[in-house]
Symmetry: C2
Subunit: 389 residues, 2 copies
């Protein structure tokens, strides 16, 4: 009997130990969205390997990830309104709620305690406790009685605030969540149909792209009382309206050395804008319609991917020479790119080749390939320590 | 017999499990140097607590820490030449070598594979494998036959390179460690007695402070062939030589919104320099001789501590108003400051009060106090994802 007891406890202990995943740092981990299977891959950018797979995240045909401040948990916002907290160390779902009918992304507060979802349907923000995913409050994007707008371009700001744009309302809103159960919101007229936005790396300038008119809407968050200023009035000038799937993604906008590198809408150009004056200073001709325009962390290179049918090509701009210095063919349907935190490598999703490819940004040669089922977004935990992700 | 065996294995398993530390992310951890006891405290800036103590690091009367790319290991460079790899998760020494007689700090390569120590005695660099601490190579700072210089201001650069200054030689050297066993070094005349240096956050501009003459030496690492340019010729003008312990620390220099905020040498001023022209554009009067001048990550505030006997005071500059907006007394002998990665809080070492104090940067009120034995440097793992730390 005693021997049996001991044996049982030994087995119990053994399985408890076996269930304990390897002890490891989380600073070099990331998640890759696998679009068609509703799962994410946990990866390491040190060993350039796929470590594990976490299934059961719902519709990931479009998704965004934000990270807990310790880098252990990724909050995955799926297209179907699913918000899933993934434990990267145990490679499993920690919690999951379906919080909306249609969601486009989310963000985390400066102190790491609040996770905020931005939704298309019902239009607005929802605020969750980052630990428990308990809903704490809601900001319906009701811009006129009974009228709710889609929310785009959500960005976290210093001071527990969030900025975002309302597509139908043509407004930028700034919500203060210092008291997470009682949001305080300020509204600023922005222009027609803001379709995405970004905040500069210092959290000061919030810029929304406008679909319904030329130019961009700029709000100086150090001086919101001054209201929105229209910049780059010639940004999309003279183009006929373009299908939304060809709209560039603004989150990837690159601010490097005091200049912002922006995808032109529809045109085969990348715009260079002086962030002191917000005037255009140059245009760099590129292969096709840019989607993501991203600066390597040191700002010396800007990488650009393109809209269908040219999405098998990626170009590299030298920011000092202000011209394309390399044209690569990393795979079919390059949907997203993510740099390692200090920029020696870049990871690219090749959706139609079912792989993620890693390039050396110095030699511009492939370093590794990882299998992935229709990969799209790639998100490293280093986002946790940056403003605006 | 069988029962005994099982019992023994159960105990073994039990202790194996017990030895396994809690699974956790490493993105919100840090180390605090405890000067007089040769130990470091492992801390979390989420819960603002001291988690563990790691003793046995030798002489930490001056120390620097750099981090592995996963944020799990801190490499602590002690004054006595000790290089100790500390495992933050297990709170123990992983490896330790005594690699020099007198060392001032170190850094880690862009790919995370090489740890480099900068030494006063024998003057030069030593290159180690980041995993094993095996020495791979050495760059003696021999600037003339038989003459070795102290090395200061080491900074990692993109492309496995490192920049540093040679005090006695009056030179800046850039070493390429692409082949870690065969370093390649370029030398640039810099000016008299560079005593410390920094690199801008993008890894482009390396700036050394000069003790033996007025002004600073600037090397554009995108164009090293252009050589060193002298900037801020009036930087220390008209002052009599000052004791070295009052020299400002340059690593803390703050680049915010395109302006660099620099401690004046000896004078009670902080200088504001335009990073496009490298001209001085303003001077902000402060309480005493500044030591560390550090920008909050969003660039809206710059925090300044001071030389003895005024080291009980800390001032906060509003970077837009370009004036001091707050004067704090966080404790006795404030030696160092470190911001949380997104800037909501700042940690300050109060050596003579044996504590670390945490301030809310918004309200500028204390949030927490942690006991620490004569604390000096505070280093968070978020340094791992930045260039130049
Ligand atoms: C507003 C918006 C954001 C910013 C969210 C935030 O601020 O957190 C965003 C983010 C994103 C992000 C997160 C970027 C980041 O760095 O945070 C990615 C990878 C992404 C990949 C794509 N998006 Fe996205 N995306 C849209 C809108 C947006 N996408 C569209 O309206 C569009 C054009 C059509 C749609 O179906 O919604 C669209 C199609 C795509 C794609 O086809 C992409 C390239 C591949 C895919 O799998 O959907 N979108
Ligand atoms: C060159 C140099 C560096 C940069 C290392 C690097 O690039 O990695 C440095 C870094 C440092 C760093 C790391 C800064 C960082 O953010 O990386 C800290 C906290 C620091 C705290 C101090 N230093 Fe430091 N320090 C000197 C030199 C330097 N200190 C001196 O010459 C001086 C004046 C006299 C001495 O005894 O060496 C000196 C005294 C001090 C102190 O008195 C401080 C304030 C408290 C202490 O415990 O010594 N020094």
């Amino acid at each position: 009997m005693r021997s049996l007891l001991l044996s049982a406890s030994a087995v119990l202990l053994l399985s408890a130990c076996a269930a304990t995943p390897t002890l490891r740092g989380t600073g070099d981990l990331g998640l890759v969205i696998e679009r068609s299977t509703g799962q994410v891959a946990v990866v390491s950018h040190t060993i350039r390997e796929r470590l594990a797979t976490v299934p059961g995240l719902g519709d990931l045909s479009h998704a965004h990830v934000t990270y807990s401040r310790d880098g252990r948990y990724g909050y995955v916002f799926g297209r179907d309104g699913g918000l899933t907290k993934v434990d990267l160390l145990r490679a499993r779902i920690e919690r999951r709620v379906v919080q909306a009918g249609n969601s486009i992304g989310g963000s985390i507060s400066q102190d790491g305690r609040l996770v905020v979802a931005q939704n298309y349907e019902p239009g607005g923000l929802k605020v969750f406790d980052a630990d428990t995913l308990e809903q704490l409050s809601e900001v319906p994007a009701e811009y006129a009685p009974g009228k709710r707008s889609k929310v785009v371009g959500l960005a976290d700001l210093p001071g527990q605030r969030f900025a975002y744009a309302l597509f139908e309302a043509g407004e930028i809103w700034v919500t203060d969540l210092s008291d997470p159960r009682a949001p305080k919101t300020e509204r600023y007229p922005a222009g027609r149909q803001p379709y995405d936005a970004l905040v500069t790396p210092d959290g000061r300038h919030f810029i929304a792209g406008l679909f319904g008119e030329d130019g961009l809407a700029l709000l100086d968050l150090w001086h919101p009382e001054r209201g929105v200023r229209k910049i780059l009035a010639g940004y999309g000038k003279g183009e006929e309206p373009l299908p939304v799937y060809k709209m560039p993604h603004l989150r990837g906008w690159a601010v490097a050395g005091g200049y912002a590198w922006l995808p032109a809408i529809g045109r085969h150009e990348v715009l260079v804008v002086d962030t002191r004056t917000w005037q255009e200073v140059a245009r760099v001709p590129v292969h096709s319609q840019p989607v993501f325009v991203m600066a390597r962390p040191d700002g010396r290179q800007v990488w650009v991917n393109f809209a269908f049918p040219d999405n098998g090509t990626v170009q590299v701009i030298d920011t000092e020479a202000q011209r394309v210095v390399d044209t690569l063919k990393p795979g079919r349907a390059i949907l997203h790119m993510e740099f390692t935190p200090r920029g020696e490598a870049v990871w690219l999703s090749a959706r139609d080749d079912n792989k993620v490819v890693v390039y050396d940004t110095g030699t511009r040669r492939p370093l590794a390939e990882l299998p992935a089922d229709h990969p799209s977004g790639i998100f490293f935990t280093s986002r946790a320590v940056r403003i605006g992700f």
